[in-house]
Symmetry: none
Subunit: 191 residues, 4 copies
Amino acid sequence: MKKMKPDRRVGRTRRILSEALMSLIIEKGYEKTTVQDIIDRANVGRSTFYAHFLDKDALLRSGFDNLRDALSKKGIGNRDGWAVALDLFQHAQSHYPLYKAMVGKHSWDMIQQYAQKFLFSLIRDHLKPKGSARKKTPVPLDIAAHFIVSSFLALLTWWLEHKMPHTAEQMTEIFKGLTKPGVDAGLGFET
Amino acid sequence: MKKMKPDRRVGRTRRILSEALMSLIIEKGYEKTTVQDIIDRANVGRSTFYAHFLDKDALLRSGFDNLRDALSKKGIGNRDGWAVALDLFQHAQSHYPLYKAMVGKHSWDMIQQYAQKFLFSLIRDHLKPKGSARKKTPVPLDIAAHFIVSSFLALLTWWLEHKMPHTAEQMTEIFKGLTKPGVDAGLGFET
Amino acid sequence: MKKMKPDRRVGRTRRILSEALMSLIIEKGYEKTTVQDIIDRANVGRSTFYAHFLDKDALLRSGFDNLRDALSKKGIGNRDGWAVALDLFQHAQSHYPLYKAMVGKHSWDMIQQYAQKFLFSLIRDHLKPKGSARKKTPVPLDIAAHFIVSSFLALLTWWLEHKMPHTAEQMTEIFKGLTKPGVDAGLGFET
Amino acid sequence: MKKMKPDRRVGRTRRILSEALMSLIIEKGYEKTTVQDIIDRANVGRSTFYAHFLDKDALLRSGFDNLRDALSKKGIGNRDGWAVALDLFQHAQSHYPLYKAMVGKHSWDMIQQYAQKFLFSLIRDHLKPKGSARKKTPVPLDIAAHFIVSSFLALLTWWLEHKMPHTAEQMTEIFKGLTKPGVDAGLGFET
DNA sequence: TCCTAAGCGAGACGGTACGTCTTGTCTTCCA
DNA sequence: TGGAAGACAAGACGTACCGTCTCGCTTAGGA
């Protein structure tokens, strides 16, 4: 197995396609954007598209890989676990037109699901060490993690749907205020 | 304006179509079910289908109208507000094959959205009277309602995805345990 | 078997339907007129339409039955056989809007076929007695009759398509001038 | 503007579709043949069909383009103008099953109309030079051309409907015998 | 004059074909 | 010779009409 230096054009094509999709989402929404639209905008052949991505959904998800990798590398570390939410609220804010175009649509559901998976393992791994001390908690740890992530996404969705009436910091506070009490009580330790 | 007696056939057709869809969802999933499948199963003409429903999605949603109407009529009344969750957990349990076939798919997102709308107004109307006394709360009432509904749906989803490892009563307790503390603190009054 | 007096409503319904079709043909053409259009215009139930006519085509043809019966009763008699053409040219002229709306379309083909059948037997019966004397003619009598009728219809079509640039009398002369020489020569006797 | 070499597949697809239609016409008639039948027989996608032809009618007409082009190239030249009829009678004879399946139906009307247009200009262009000498003729040249073409098609139709009881040569003679005298007289010169 | 069978309107229904649309694969040809 | 262009198979979609049918109301014409 040879280790190849990746063709520089490959990165270029993927980037162009991603940019084409993003601009099209903002213009006409993800659902109304067809593969044909994307490759027309990107000046790319149909087969080229499918050489790089399984389908339109894969292309969309790939756009969030950067965010995921950044978060993944940064981790939670010694910060207040709830602080991660702030990063995400801010990211949404800085890409508002894109998020706005998707929220409430099928594409948003997909993104949520994608985010859910990643954030879930991030949170669970953060909670596990603390929880391992306690034998038995009234609420299973997995459910708590799922609850935290879902609550965050729910607030994010609400925030975007209502045109961001509060700051990212305020939203983080609200999120923490609504979620932390129940989690702490349910798990039996301070998160 | 004449008051017409409604054609008895209409109700029958709508019911047959709904039943056909439900059975097909269980067999092959909502997304893989085509309109053709439905009308074949229901022994109904294509145009008849479109005379009654805008599309496949509308038919699916109509299937939940009964549940919605039942809840709507029953209301929350004097019960513990959180008890409504039990009704819904139980409903899901008693229609498990149907729910199971949809959870995690696009159809589930749609149902969630449909449920969200209805439950949101139900909850908000339940909270409003209590909240009107207090001038200012750290958390806006709308956000709290949104949070409650989303949390419920998140737990329901988790429960179904994991093959209902707990009873409906246990899930209601967990739901209440995770959600109530934050809401009470955030709103400044006992829900 | 009782002989009933026919219900007066029946004739009325048939007439109303025929009138509705004729007016619709003039307005939007026969092909674009649907059964729904007709029964809407006629204020008649769908089933009533089908109780009276097999389909739209049958209704159209029925409109020409009057003309056919009139010609049939009048016959050719002692007149110049070619004079019948004049009657028909004049009929077309007096119903120009209707004919104009059909000529060149599928409906015109149907009318032509309908007319062909009737006129063919009219002409053949007119020629037969004269031809029976001669044993053998270079051109079969049936072909000659077919030729005469087709030529007439061709000229009628041309005339209507070109907005009737000549009088009905002129067209009759042209028709006779083009057709008679060949027929007389082919049949071997004066028509 | 780049001159592209046409994709070889295109011609193939069009040919296959045409062949599929022809065979289906012979088997079940043009009117009963659906687009679905054609694409099934041709092993072609539905969209491919519509990428090449506007509709079923267009495909049918395209099948006669070869014949038209052949005649067009060959022209009338120095031959007896009436000889063209022989070519056409013979063509019909050699494709009898196809013609037989259409004659008398709507499809035949369409073909007749298509043929009429082409043959009319062929004949008129053939007559014009001869007629320009004469100032005034009792019968307009356009009518004469229309008459000739219609007469030919009428005889062709009769011939096919009656299972070709005469040879193509005989039919040509009959055609000429019936038509030429009137035309020569009407135009005032020998055709 | 009554009453009864038929005509009738309204429109739901099963069914068929249409032309459009989008997807993911596969082939051709150009640079 | 590798990738852009785009032809292609597949198949679901929503629309348009058709001809059949069921349902009650109305009404003509025989009793």
